[in-house]
């Protein structure tokens, strides 16, 4: 009887499904796994997706992908996809991204869709539900809820004489435990911070909360301001310093710096390779243990985080959420997207995930609650029951990760004080935090006191009007002088018979170029001028905001840092590298033998593109002892020490020194400049070489007869003849390197501590990562104004110069 009913239902469904099946709705989802390979987590998600597609045959899911960006902007892929016109229909959202996405108008309010089925919100933890409500609307739907927990190795605890059933409860305990667990001879560390972008502060915020501090706070008017530069913040920062940089004595009497390692991938390289005893990792409402699965679950303890000095228990709370893109206007797709979003958070999906874990032999790792709910009682063991206890407490103490405007980049900025105190432990923590707070307020949260803003507007109005008038005046003057000068030189006119036709033909020839420049250079220029006065948004409404962009630029620390570093970059590039091609050309011209060979070798860098060279050098700068530059350093130190031994002088240097060339503020800028100089010397010399050949030999012979020395000949014959070329190259190189960014982007992304952040990067990041187009154009205009003098000078040089072919 039941079987017939089932068959009937199935047939009915089939009939219902058939007409819709004919018009499958495709939903593009950002971030679904492409295949079932990968970790158990991806496998489970993939199975949920398969089940969804089976259940809703009329909906087809497509993995939307875009490009990945490394460096500080690695989460901005979806923003760039939206900016680039490839918005996915469903995208992954977490707390720190939510507000920015809403402000940009990317997220569709889900209120109507939730109203269809209000019960979907029930399983969500109240602490998370609070965050979801943004000014009375819900924009994203959580399908998994997460807390950060303290994970530790029970076997390491036992080995160090600690009780594995008593994880550290306070900071003091945490530190002493970490000391006991740090064993340099085994390469083992007590704790670890991830030093990849956004990694350090992601762990550190837990300490900040435990100290009683806060990351950001919402002001009464709905804006956000940073809140970590308080005594509590200082306590947390000092604790961080203690963990990574404080020197202490090991039982064997040796000195040891810190108890926590800082490395780019601590989870894989230290935790996964049994080199780290305690670490922070997520736990979710479904998955009790997310540790890398090659560590036996019996060895892993999971506990609430240690309490801060004031007795506060706190840890990060987060949620994996799906949002529906507001740019997708088709209600059918919206509805289909909602089905998917809802399904991912449903009990059914949880059942599939549970089974996928059990199939993978990982039933142990699941939350006992899910196991019980779906009938897998035999997997509920002592260990995961223990973990569950921790879970409950962690959710209770959970602090939602910062979720204000632009908080998607909060960890990037919050890394800065941590990196600074790690590099320079003697800096004053209060000042370090104050500086960071200022940057974050100005840069991410855009918070300025209203009165200050008003005063700034007045000043800006004056300054900008004056500045524009000046530049415009100068420009007009310059252009008039130029055009007059040029028009004066030649003015012959052909006595044509059919003048109109004559002009027409000329214009047909010229039109592609003139039109192209008008459309692609002048029009965007004019538009950019307008945009600089707007708060330009891609999906939401664009507003006129007067001079606020310029004010923001002028008050933005990173902008001025950018200018300063660009100048430094120009100075270094030209100072170290400008004369090199000239000298090289002289040598190449004078050397009697092997000219062709040398020339080809020096020309090699030009054969590869700039990107290739940047990548190549990035590898040479590797911070490990195997990096080419560190090997060279090692060789130098060895030589120095041998010399010292030889001369019996106390010259000994530590031979295990290694430098993070691109990560150390002292060397970063030079490290970025060197490849440019290296690659530019050879190709640059080719031009000079041609110019040298065009100097008549008679002149030199005459000089020889007069008894001139080599130096005199260079000084009085060669250099003056090269002058026009040198001048042109100099101005070109100046303007070129002032705008440089691609190579820096590849090598350091602007870091460390903004040490290589140039103006070009400031513009690029703001425009394409933060989507602050108005700000970026304003900054570009200011940079243009600074360079305009040089460019006009360049034009003037060109006026007096004629280019001829080299024969």
């Amino acid at each position: 009887m039941r079987r017939t009913l089932k068959t009937f239902l199935f047939l009915a469904l089939l009939v219902l499904a058939l007409p819709t099946h004919a018009q499958t709705v495709t939903v593009r989802v950002w971030g679904i796994p492409r295949s079932a390979e990968g970790g158990p987590f991806e496998r489970a998600n993939r199975q949920i997706i398969d089940a969804f597609e089976k259940k809703f045959p009329a909906i087809h899911l497509e993995a939307a992908t875009g490009l990945q960006v490394n460096g500080p902007a690695n989460e901005s892929g979806v923003l760039m996809a939206i900016a680039g016109g490839l918005a996915p229909d469903v995208m992954y959202v977490n707390f720190r991204q939510m507000e920015s996405y809403i402000k940009q108008g990317f997220l569709l309010p889900l209120d109507d869709l939730i109203a269809q089925d209000p019960r979907v919100l029930e399983p969500i933890h109240p602490n998370i539900r609070k965050v979801l409500n943004v000014r009375g609307h819900v924009y994203a739907f959580p399908y998994q809820q997460w807390v950060q927990a303290l994970y530790y190795r029970k076997d390491f605890f036992r080995e160090a004489g600690l009780d594995p059933e008593h994880p550290p409860r306070t900071w003091d305990e945490f530190y002493t435990y970490a000391q006991k667990l740090t064993k340099p001879e085994k390469g083992q560390w007590g704790f670890g911070f991830d030093s990849s972008p956004q990694g350090t502060s992601w762990y550190w915020v837990n300490f900040l909360w435990q100290a009683g501090g806060e990351v950001v706070r919402e002001l009464p008017d709905g804006r956000w301001a940073s809140a970590f530069n308080t005594p509590e913040g200082v306590t947390a920062l000092k604790f961080y310093r203690k963990l990574v940089a404080e020197e202490w004595t090991l039982p064997n009497g040796q000195k040891q710096r810190g108890v926590a390692v800082r490395a780019t991938d601590v989870l894989n390289d230290y935790v996964g390779k049994n080199h780290q005893a305690m670490w922070f990792e997520y736990q979710s409402n479904a998955i009790a243990n997310r540790a890398s699965i090659n560590i036996s679950p019996a060895l892993i303890g999971i506990a609430p985080m240690p309490k801060g000095p004031t007795g506060i228990s706190a840890n990060e709370l987060n949620a994996s959420m799906w949002g529906i893109c507001a740019l997708q206007k088709d209600p059918k797709v919206q509805q289909a997207a909602w089905e998917f979003v809802k399904y991912m958070g449903s009990d059914e999906a949880d059942a599939i995930r549970t089974r996928a874990y059990i199939d993978a032999g990982l039933g142990m790792y699941l939350s006992p609650l899910s196991l019980k709910k779906h009938g897998y009682l035999e997997y509920v063991t002592g260990a995961n029951k223990e973990w569950l206890k921790a879970t409950e407490e962690l959710f209770k103490n959970g602090k939602p990760e910062p979720f204000g405007e632009n908080c998607q980049l909060i960890y990037t900025e919050l890394d800065q004080p941590l990196v600074e105190i790690g590099l320079y432990p003697d800096h004053d923590p209060t000042e370090v935090l104050n500086r960071a707070a200022k940057t974050i307020d100005a840069k991410l949260l855009g918070y300025v006191e209203p009165e200050v803003q008003k005063r700034r507007r007045q000043i800006a109005l004056g300054a900008v009007t004056g500045g524009f008038a000046l530049i415009l005046g100068l420009g007009v003057l310059m252009i008039r002088r130029l055009s007059m000068a040029i028009t004066d030189t030649e003015g012959s006119r052909m006595a044509g018979t059919n003048r109109f036709r004559y002009h027409l033909i000329a214009w047909v020839f010229m039109l592609p170029a003139v039109g192209s420049i008008a459309l692609w250079a002048y029009f965007p220029l004019a538009r950019g001028l307008l945009m600089a006065f707007q708060d330009y948004r891609i999906a939401a409404k664009t507003r006129w905001i007067g001079l606020d962009n310029f004010i923001e630029v002028a008050t933005q620390e990173t902008f001025w840092k950018g200018i300063l570093h660009s100048l430094e970059y120009v100075g270094l590039t030209l100072g170290l590298g400008f004369c090199l091609p000239i000298l090289l050309a002289l040598l190449l011209a004078e050397i009697p033998r092997g000219k062709m060979l040398y020339r080809s070798l020096y020309y090699l860098p030009a054969v590869t593109s700039g990107l290739v060279i940047a990548f190549l050098w990035k590898q040479f700068y590797a911070p490990t002892e195997q990096g080419l530059f560190n090997q060279m350093l090692h060789g130098l130190i060895e030589a120095w020490n041998t010399l010292g031994q030889w001369l019996h002088l106390p010259l000994h240097l530590k031979s295990d020194m290694k430098i993070d060339w691109l990560g150390d503020p002292t060397f970063a800028m030079l490290a970025v400049v060197l490849p440019v100089i290296w690659a530019g010397a050879g190709p640059g010399s080719i031009l000079y070489l041609a110019a040298l050949k065009s100097i008549s030999e008679d002149v030199y012979e005459a000089a020889d007869i007069d008894g001139a020395s080599i130096w005199h000949k260079i000084r009085y014959i060669t250099v003056p003849s090269l002058r026009p070329l040198i001048m042109i190259n100099f101005v070109g190189a100046f303007i070129g390197s002032f705008k440089a960014m691609e190579n820096i982007f590849v090598m350091t992304g602007g870091g460390p501590l903004y040490r290589t952040h140039t103006i070009g990067l400031e513009i690029w990041y703001n425009a394409f990562m933060y989507l602050k187009f108005g700000y970026a154009t304003a900054a570009a205009w200011i940079m243009g104004a600074m360079l305009v003098g040089f460019t006009l000078y360049q034009l003037r040089l060109l006026r007096n110069i004629r280019f001829t072919a080299n024969n």
Partner: protein
């Protein structure tokens, strides 16, 4: 060489000067060349030796280095497993060396015997090696991809349909994960798993790793058995005369020593894969177990339909399904109900010992024993000669392996680039289109400006040049938005149009056209030649070197451009090689990047080699008027 006078070159001072110049130039040339040599050297390494930064990697001449590389590759860098299998204690993968006893008579004989055994091991006890790990893409993945490409005729959609996945190209496809030592793993039934199995049978024997239980059992005694606490001395007391966990062997039947028996039992009940258990006599217990578990029969009926035999009774599940209720119950049965005395193991390690024992036994009995073994009980402490087998293979195939390692990274990159949708075509088309447009738009305009003496010619030129006063960044964002509004994003137009005209090129060209002798044109006009004819017959031949230089510049600029292309063409279908390379370096290892960089420089290198003379002739030099 006119600055240094021709006279007096033989003097000591001049000789010194020349020597010094040579020295400086040679040193400089070395710094130019060395990075590229390193790039080439590193591009043929893998994770064991990539950090050595040698121009000529060690494995090309050193068998130990080659062996380390092979082992790392085969066992996916799992050093713990390697040490357990080899009974060694290497601290790092790069320390792995060849065994010293490789050439003894015993070794040779045992190895010979083992090879027959290996060939007979059933496929579900063999794991496919060379899988790769982390950022290292293994040969298994590479060959699997090329197999699938052939099978699905390069159609990724066909693969997605058949294997139920969502790939956009073959580059993300990877073989299914085999968890041979997971308890309930079995040969899968999905299309992908069936395809994989069929293909796996065709793999060379040395690719297949025996998934024996010795390693798993050693791991169990070390990490999981609570009463030992990881102490090898305590383990040795029970398991007799061993010095390290690597020496542990698993008996195929329950041992007699009570503690050892307890260890064996709890290991078998909790960890041994179901496939490795044989318990033909346990049927009555199984039926009893089911009766207890399902007191009411009808409920049992449906799930267990497939196990029912003709008499309406239940048989042992064979083969065991990979999941579902039967499997779950089976797990319960194994861990709680089955009498341990009825269980024995059928797995490669103990199997090898069993077969080898009978071989040696026969040899001793018939007096043709070639082994030095006289006491059969030593065989129970022996494990299969994995170390010897791998070493022998490497030494016998050294040449082939070296060749393979040299080309491995390059194969991967070539696969990545060529098969990445259309990267190559996009790049070629983009470069060609760019060269063509710059070579038409700019010279046309310059020619008009130079030949037609328009009264406002210089104003036009100024209009074209004045944009240089503004940095490209000012216009970059509006440019992007303009492209977006015109619907050009993710099209070739977006790559080509904005950069088509360049004021500076026009300026250069006009200067050059101006400098051409006017008499030629006057003569042409007298002969009644049309403007187009004069352009083609007079201007073009003279301007060829300059055109070549402009074309070259357009080529290098468009070939190397990646930043703007990254933004305006985010659709992977429109990515140029450079954008793909940028993506490649994010999630691939350094040595793969080096190979990629080498390949990426080839086109420019070739162009420069062939166009070297043209470049030198086409350089335009500034002179003051």
């Amino acid at each position: 060489m006119p600055i240094i006078p021709r006279v007096g070159r033989k003097t000591a001072r001049m000789r010194l000067l020349f020597a010094l110049m040579h020295l400086v130039l040679a040193l400089g040339a070395l710094t130019m060349l060395y990075p590229f040599l390193l790039m080439l050297g590193t591009s043929i390494t893998s994770s064991t030796d990539t950090n050595e930064f040698r121009v000529i990697p060690r494995y090309l001449s050193d068998n130990n280095a080659l062996f380390a590389k092979y082992v790392d590759d085969k066992y996916a860098g799992d050093l713990e497993r390697i040490n357990l299998l080899y009974r060694t204690d290497f601290k790092r993968l790069s320390d792995v060396t060849l065994p010293t006893n490789l050439n003894t008579l015993d070794s040779r004989n045992i190895l010979h015997f083992w090879q027959f055994h290996h060939a007979d091991t059933p496929i579900d006890q063999l794991e496919a090696g060379f899988r790769g790990y982390g950022v290292h893409v293994g040969n298994l993945t590479l060959t699997w991809r090329s197999y699938l490409r052939e099978r699905f005729q390069n159609d990724i959609k066909a693969l997605n349909r058949s294997h139920h996945e969502e790939h956009q190209s073959f580059e993300t496809v990877s073989p299914p994960i085999e968890r041979l030592t997971a308890r309930n793993w079995s040969l899968g039934t999905s299309q992908k798993e069936r395809d994989f199995l069929e293909w796996k049978r065709t793999l060379p024997k040395n690719w297949l790793i025996e998934a024996g239980l010795d390693v798993l059992f050693a791991h169990y005694l070390k990490e999981e058995a609570p009463h030992y606490g990881g102490d090898i001395r305590k383990v040795a007391k029970v398991w007799g005369g061993i010095r390290s966990f690597a020496e542990i062997t698993i008996p195929s039947h329950p041992p007699t020593n009570p503690q050892a028996r307890a260890d064996w039992e709890s290991f078998v009940r909790r960890f041994v894969p179901f496939r490795y258990l044989i318990l033909p006599t346990a049927l009555p217990e199984y039926r009893a177990f089911l009766k207890v578990r399902y007191p009411s029969y009808p409920k049992l009926d449906r799930a267990y339909d497939s196990l029912k035999n003709a008499n309406g009774e239940y048989d042992l599940p064979n083969p065991l399904p990979s999941n579902g209720r039967i499997t779950q119950d089976w797990g319960e049965f194994i861990s709680k109900a089955v009498p341990i005395a009825k269980v024995s193991l059928k797995e490669p390690d103990s199997n090898f010992r069993r077969v080898f024992t009978s071989e040696v036994y026969n040899a001793i009995r018939c007096h043709y024993n070639t082994y030095s073994i006289t006491d059969l009980s030593t065989i129970a402490k022996m494990n299969a000669p994995y170390y010897l087998a791998d070493a022998r293979y490497v030494l016998d195939n050294a040449l082939h392996l070296r060749r393979n390692y040299i080309t491995h990274n390059y194969n991967l990159v070539i696969d990545y680039l060529l098969l990445h949708g259309r990267a190559l075509w996009v790049t070629i088309l983009f470069c060609l289109a760019m060269i063509l447009t710059t070579l038409t738009v700019n010279p046309l305009c310059a020619y008009a400006l130079s030949r037609y003496r328009l009264p406002y010619a210089y104003n036009v030129l100024l209009f074209l040049l004045a944009t240089m006063a503004f940095p490209a960044e000012v216009a970059m964002i509006p440019n992007f938005l303009l492209l977006k509004e015109l619907g050009f994003l993710n099209t070739y137009w977006a790559l080509i149009l904005p950069g088509a005209a360049s004021g500076f090129s026009i300026f250069l060209l006009k200067g050059f056209f101006d400098s051409l002798p006017r008499d030629l044109y006057e003569a042409g006009m007298i002969d009644g030649a049309s403007e187009a004819r004069m352009f083609l017959t007079i201007t073009l031949p003279l301007a060829r070197p300059i055109f070549a230089v402009i074309a070259l510049e357009a080529f290098t600029a468009s070939y190397g451009a990646f930043m703007f292309a990254l933004i305006i063409c985010q659709d992977p279908k429109m990515w140029t090689i450079m954008v793909w390379l940028y993506q490649l370096q994010i999630n691939h290892a350094q040595y793969i990047n080096m190979a990629a960089l080498t390949i990426a420089s080839l086109p420019t290198l070739l162009v420069f080699i062939f166009a070297q003379n043209v470049i030198l002739r086409g350089i335009l030099l500034p002179t003051e008027k």
